[in-house]
């Protein structure tokens, strides 16, 4: 992977002093991420270009455990790390040009901090979200950005563009600023960091981005993506950034709330509606089938009228997350006894789910292939046979009201279908009839006169004793 930086200032080759790298030497640095080479393809008084070439060892990447990371692609020999400018290049930049990044120039202190006419060329910059994202990130910092996405495969033109942009940045900035922009924003654009995010990452971000990051219009997105979506660290970094500006941490929260009051998220409305239905049904022993990370379970736990709560999901790692989020290991015994998490599947009959007051299928049915729905019906209504079943699912008619959603698109990539109100009613009535239940419907979310509610809900009530 390659990056070149050109100065066209008078005495352009002073760049060598600023970088602490002599223009007539070829230097090699063995780094954790690979071997970095620094050389000058051009070094005249009019124009001086330094190139940073990082040779990544793809086999070391896979075989060495140190890069076992957050992106699946890193675990493969076939990955773009040896070519694309990524967080690894950012690491190399930090190590090779560390003094310059800090704005130090021991040999010629007067050069430090002086704005220079600079040109940065990154021929393969991964940018999920297109070339515009590159512009959005660098332009506010004083760069003129020229970013063009490269084709995915020129021999297969139908495949369109790749996610790699050939990027040239031009601007007049002090060198340390320019380097710090690259240092922080390369990993942000890449999205897939090569190492685990740890708390020193927070320090590093503040150290290098502190001066300009606070004012950047995309600050939150940068922080979030830099820290690879690790929520705990994100709050920490935002708070500490606020402290850096001598803002009280809670003022930061206030600015967020000062935004136009967002409507209550649909997910919250849905949970409220489901809990309400469970209370109306007089349910005390409840199964949340497809509990995910346990958002509904948390609300059920908060209401002591739910005496036995079972969260079931087919994905073991999701259940682990739920256990984590609910802090099961730290829960008091009395509370802990009320809740059970277990792996289950609607493809298989599961006696552990039988005989409860209610089963909740909140945003679950649409994740089941239509051909497999009969299994779900049999498992839930035929075998588990609770007193009540609460089902929520998206209302497909409402999709037209979501901005930016294509016609016929689904709300989630794992959705196998989304029903209109009529389709949902057909299904629900047939299932109720077949299994000895009655069914009633309720809207969830803001009701549109034509499209109906964003989420539809059905409550099934058992009328016949189990067969």
């Amino acid at each position: 992977m390659l990056l070149t930086l050109t100065s066209t200032a008078a005495h352009a080759s002073d760049l060598g002093y600023l970088l602490h790298k002599h223009p007539d030497r070829v230097q090699r640095f063995d780094l954790s991420v690979g071997v970095a080479h620094v050389f000058y393809p051009e070094a005249t008084d009019e124009r001086c270009t330094v190139a940073l070439l990082l040779e990544v060892d793809p086999i070391g990447l896979v075989r060495g455990r140190r890069f076992g990371g957050d992106a699946v692609s890193l675990a493969q020999y076939v990955n773009d790390r040896p070519y694309a400018a990524s967080s690894m290049l950012s690491v190399a930049l930090g190590r090779v040009f560390g003094s310059a990044l800090k704005g130090r120039c021991d040999a010629r202190p007067e050069l430090a901090g002086v704005p220079l006419p600079l040109e940065v060329h990154v021929p393969a910059l991964p940018s999920r979200g297109g070339a515009d994202v590159v512009v959005d990130l660098f332009e506010p910092l004083g760069w003129t950005v020229d970013a063009v996405l490269r084709p995915l495969d020129p021999e297969l033109p139908a495949w369109g563009d790749s996610r790699y942009a050939d990027v040239t940045l031009r601007g007049t900035l002090p060198l340390d600023q320019a380097l710090s922009h690259l240092y922080v924003l390369l990993p942000v654009l890449d999205g897939a960091k090569h190492y685990w995010v740890s708390s020193d990452e927070v320090d590093k971000l503040i150290r290098t981005g502190g001066s300009w990051l606070q004012a950047h219009p995309r600050r939150d997105a940068i922080v979030t993506r830099y820290l690879a979506h690790q929520r705990g660290f994100v709050t920490d970094a935002l708070t500490r950034l606020a402290e850096l500006d001598d803002d009280a941490p809670d003022e930061l929260d206030e600015t967020e709330e000062a935004d136009p009051p967002a409507p209550v998220p649909l997910a919250t409305l849905r949970r409220t509606a489901v809990v309400e239905q469970l209370r109306t049904a007089g349910a005390h022993r409840v199964v949340d089938l497809g509990c995910g990370e346990g958002a509904l379970l948390r609300e059920l736990l908060a209401d002591s009228s739910f005496t036995e709560i079972v969260g079931a999901d087919v994905a073991p790692r999701v259940l682990e997350k739920a256990a984590d989020r609910l802090r099961l290991d730290r829960m008091g015994e009395r509370q802990r006894d009320r809740i059970t998490l277990l792996q289950s599947s609607v493809t298989y009959r599961d006696d552990r789910l039988a005989g409860f007051d209610a089963v909740v299928l909140m945003e679950v049915v649409e994740h089941v292939d239509p051909e497999r729905l009969p299994d779900l019906e049999r498992t839930v209504f035929g075998h588990a046979r609770p007193g009540a079943v609460v089902v929520t699912t998206p209302n497909a008619e409402y999709n037209v009201l979501f901005p930016g959603m294509d016609e016929g698109a689904l709300r989630h990539q794992d959705h196998r279908f989304e029903w209109t109100r009529a389709e949902f009613a057909d299904w629900a009535s047939r299932v109720a009839g077949a299994h000895g239940y009655t069914v009633a419907f309720a809207p969830v979310g803001e009701l549109d006169p034509d499209a109906g509610p964003p989420t539809q809900l059905a409550v099934f009530t058992r009328t016949e004793a189990p067969a």
Partner: protein, 849 residues
């Protein structure tokens, strides 16, 4: 005086006697070391002291727990405790009942002086004489009521001499007929249909024996086969006495066995003069018996009374009971076992016709024993989890049905007429596969499991792997009914010592030669995706055999059980396959109406376009963007006289590698529109009705494939092949040459298989195939630059042991599922090894091997 005590082989024996009466000595003399569970020992377990009376509660919890586990496993158990208190004995009786075994009491009634003397000799027993005295009082008061407490046998040994002299023998239970091996012809509910019974026996090959009056009194099979009557011989039909006469004659002559039905049960009660409701056709029987001489009725009563409610036959492989029997009750004896056998798993409710509602126990049956039963008239005899109901409503105008055991062949004769109007129309008693009886239970797959395979012993699946597989199976795979098989992984050839390649055919030939395999077949490795094709001859076959509910006629799926196509496209593809199979004449030739084919589906891009674009093409694009610029900058630096020669050379080579990489993946891409452009290359027939084909040589399989190609050369694609003799140098050289030509031309490589197909060597199964992948293709696996010497050297250091072991285990599991499928095993049995393959595939093995 010598007493002999006979106790049931499976029973819970309570020794009763005061401290010092010699129970432990007695137990040690008459029972096995582990059969005896002593309260003193359990005290020691929980409190390090056999005499610590303060922990008795906990000690007995442990005792009951151990005894319960033993009884659940069908093992005789002896409780060595004083048991002089009624409460203690009640727990034992309850425990026996809970496990449906017979409780037996053996009382050691020893004079008090002896007990006191014995306790004095044991310094650890420091309790005073009043304890023994109190226990004796309790014992004396208990003695009379023991039988009433629920013990099926009470044996009281009243003196030291008697205790010394007694012998204990074990009797098998009445239902234990495991030594009867058949073959049998098991006949469902007859209900007085004598003519149909005679016709059925005739069809089964029995010769009827008639008395002077011309009445059938016996039937004899020339090959010594025997009949098993499943009960309900009487009521409703025209000639219950005639049926009884024949059945009684056959059992007396040793030509038949019988279990009672609920109708016999009721008949006995009626004959005994008990108050019974004379309905359900009993009136007819009683009227018919009126016409018989009184001694006939007496014989009938005795014969019916002596019938045992269920029988365990043929080493436990066959269980017969009128209304069926769940596994936990097999070979057990208790009131509820008997009532299950007679009446089924009733829920206590009645349906809208006033008939008892029965729980469909067979849907949940997971036992290995075949269970044959009647009781519930059903339109067709169908297998449900290795059970079959043989009551096909003869008396209601249906059929009289027999099942030949062990052949599993159904033999039927139609009713001559409707003899009795049914209260309600005949409906299936349990859900057959096509109606949901194939429902799988979570306990069939979850947790750590051990799957028995015929070819490779026991294969263990770890709980974590099963959990992962459950998610894949539930969220992405087809319904298990369409996945009777998942292909095993295949090991690569041993790493080549040649300098420039990672894999080379020479190692494959050498490996098979070392395993004693002389003939191998090299098969071209297609540049596609592994696909399993299940095709049924028609809709009816799909419904009958695989329980199709939505009009499916088969499936085309990936290694993890995902469908390749939408249901519409799948149907279209299957139409093509079906037509070719018909044109090739395979349906009739193989005597089947379904086929399971192992194949490759091309192009790879049909399944993997998003992977090709997102990963392979992306890497190519990144390389194409970065490397030429790097070469240019390095050239400029070189132009300035800087020493970058080595770096420039290396970077130039990498640019060439990246181009070769792109060329490699592009071969896997061709445009597909619907099914246009999609090709199937079958290479093995996995299974068809009643048969797996792993013992046929690979050339036989490829011959079948060639016939499909001939029938439809657009849809099917041939597999190029070469036979190699591993002991002949020229032949091996030709094999190497063949591979080189194939891969130089851009081919993926080849798979080398033992020509004979399944082969066992000295160390068990031989690898069913070894893949030898081409040098260019491996760029897609190990990255564009894997051929750089520094990289190749490191990649050659790879461990293959785990992969090979995994390949064999998955191969054995695959065969196991096929054999279970071909033998019409219950769905959960077929699913078990299939699920295990998926679980093993989630084990952490280098996916590049």
């Amino acid at each position: 005086m010598s007493t002999s005590i006979a106790i049931p082989q499976l029973s819970l024996v309570a020794l009763v006697g005061v401290s010092g009466s010699g129970k432990s000595t007695f137990a040690a003399r008459h029972f096995g070391r582990f059969e005896v569970v002593s309260s003193d020992f359990c005290r020691g377990l929980v409190a390090d002291d056999e005499n610590d009376q303060t922990v008795s509660g906990d000690a007995f919890d442990v005792l009951y727990y151990i005894a319960g586990k033993r009884l659940a496993g069908g093992r005789l158990t002896v409780v060595d405790a004083t048991n002089v208190q009624r409460d203690a004995r009640r727990k034992i009786v309850d425990l026996a009942k809970a496990h449906d075994v017979l409780p037996v009491a053996i009382v050691l009634d020893v004079p008090e002086s002896v007990c006191l003397e014995r306790n004095r000799e044991r310094p650890d027993r420091d309790f005073g004489p009043h304890v023994v005295r109190r226990q004796r009082d309790q014992l004396r008061r208990s003695l009379r009521g023991l039988a009433k407490e629920g013990f099926r046998q009470v044996h009281v040994l009243r003196s030291i001499d008697e205790i010394e002299a007694v012998t204990i023998t074990r009797e098998r239970l009445f239902n234990d007929r495991r030594d009867e091996h058949g073959p049998f012809d098991v006949i469902g509910d007859v209900h007085g249909c004598r003519a149909e019974l005679e016709a059925l026996l005739d069809r089964l090959g029995y010769a009827l024996v008639r008395d002077d009056a011309g009445r059938a009194v016996d039937a004899v099979h020339p090959e010594g086969r025997r009949v098993v009557f499943l009960g309900d011989l009487v009521d409703r039909g025209p000639d219950s006495p005639g049926v009884l006469r024949l059945a009684m004659g056959m059992t007396a002559a040793g030509h038949a066995l019988a279990v009672p039905g609920n109708h016999e049960h009721k008949l006995i009660r009626a004959l005994d003069g008990r108050q019974v409701k004379v309905g359900h056709g009993l009136a007819e029987t009683l009227a018919q018996l009126e016409a018989e001489p009184p001694d006939f009725t007496v014989t009938v009563r005795e014969w019916c009374r002596d019938l045992v409610s269920h029988l365990v036959l043929d080493d436990g492989k066959l269980v017969v009971a009128h209304a069926g029997l769940k596994e936990a009750y097999h070979g057990r004896a208790s009131g509820r076992v008997r009532s299950f056998a007679l009446y089924g798993d009733t829920t206590g409710e009645t349906d809208e016709f006033g008939l008892p509602v029965r729980y469909p126990w067979a849907n949940e049956y997971r036992g290995r024993a075949m269970v044959l039963y009647g009781h519930t008239p059903t339109p067709e005899a169908e297998w449900v989890n290795n059970t079959m109901c043989l009551d096909t409503g003869c008396v209601f105008g249906g059929q009289l049905t027999a099942l030949r055991y062990p052949e599993r062949e159904v033999v039927q004769v139609p009713a001559e007429r409707v003899w009795y109007e049914p209260v309600k129309p005949l409906v299936p008693a349990v859900a057959a596969p096509s109606r949901g009886g194939d429902e799988l239970d979570l306990t069939d797959v979850l947790g750590k499991r051990v799957v028995e395979t015929a070819h490779h012993g026991r294969v263990t699946v770890r709980a974590e792997s099963a959990a992962g597989a459950l998610e894949v199976m539930s969220r992405f795979a087809l319904h298990p009914r369409w996945l009777p098989y998942l292909p095993p992984t295949m090991a690569p050839v041993a790493t080549s010592p040649l300098p420039d390649v990672l894999e080379h055919p020479a190692e494959a030939f050498a490996a098979f030669a070392a395993d004693g395999v002389e003939q191998v077949v090299c098969e071209e490795k297609h540049m596609g995706s592994r696909a399993v094709v299940l095709v049924c001859r028609d809709q009816a076959a799909a419904t009958r055999r695989f329980g199709a509910t939505l009009g499916e006629t088969g499936a085309v799926y990936t290694r993890t059980g995902r469908s390749f196509f939408s249901s519409a496209l799948t149907a279209e593809l299957l139409d093509g396959v079906r037509a070719a199979v018909a044109a090739a004449g395979l349906w009739d030739e193989l005597g089947t109406d379904w086929l399971l084919l192992d194949a490759e589906l091309l192009p790879w891009s049909a399944k993997a376009e998003s992977l090709l674009r997102g990963q392979y093409a992306s890497v190519g694009a990144a390389a194409r963007s970065a490397l030429p610029v790097a070469v240019a900058e390095l050239s400029a630096a070189a132009g300035r006289g800087l020493d970058v020669a080595a770096l420039l050379d290396r970077t130039t080579a990498r640019a060439a590698n990246a181009a070769a990489f792109a060329a490699a993946y592009r071969r896997y891409v061709w445009p597909v529109d619907g099914l246009d452009g999609v090709q199937v290359a079958p290479f093995q027939l996995l299974a068809s009705e009643g048969a797996t084909w792993h013992d046929r040589p690979h050339l036989w399989h490829l011959g079948l494939a060639d016939r499909l190609v001939a029938a439809d050369p657009v849809l099917f694609r041939p597999t190029r092949r070469l036979e190699v003799s591993t002991s002949s140098a020229p032949s091996v050289a030709a094999g190497v040459e063949w591979w080189s030509a194939l891969t130089d031309d851009g081919g993926e490589g080849m798979v080398v298989k033992p020509a004979a197909n399944l082969v066992r060597g000295g160390k068990g199964l031989v690898q069913p195939g070894l893949k030898v992948r081409g040098r260019e293709y491996l760029r897609l696996i190990y990255g564009p630059d894997y051929t750089l010497p520094a990289n190749l050297d490191r990649l050659k250091d790879r461990g293959l042991g785990h992969k090979r072991s995994l390949a064999l285990r998955e191969y054995a599991l695959g065969l196991e599922s096929l054999e279970r499928l071909a033998r019409s095993g219950p769905p959960w049995r077929v699913h078990e090894p299939v699920f295990a393959v998926l679980a093993l595939e989630s084990e952490p093995v280098d996916p590049r091997l």
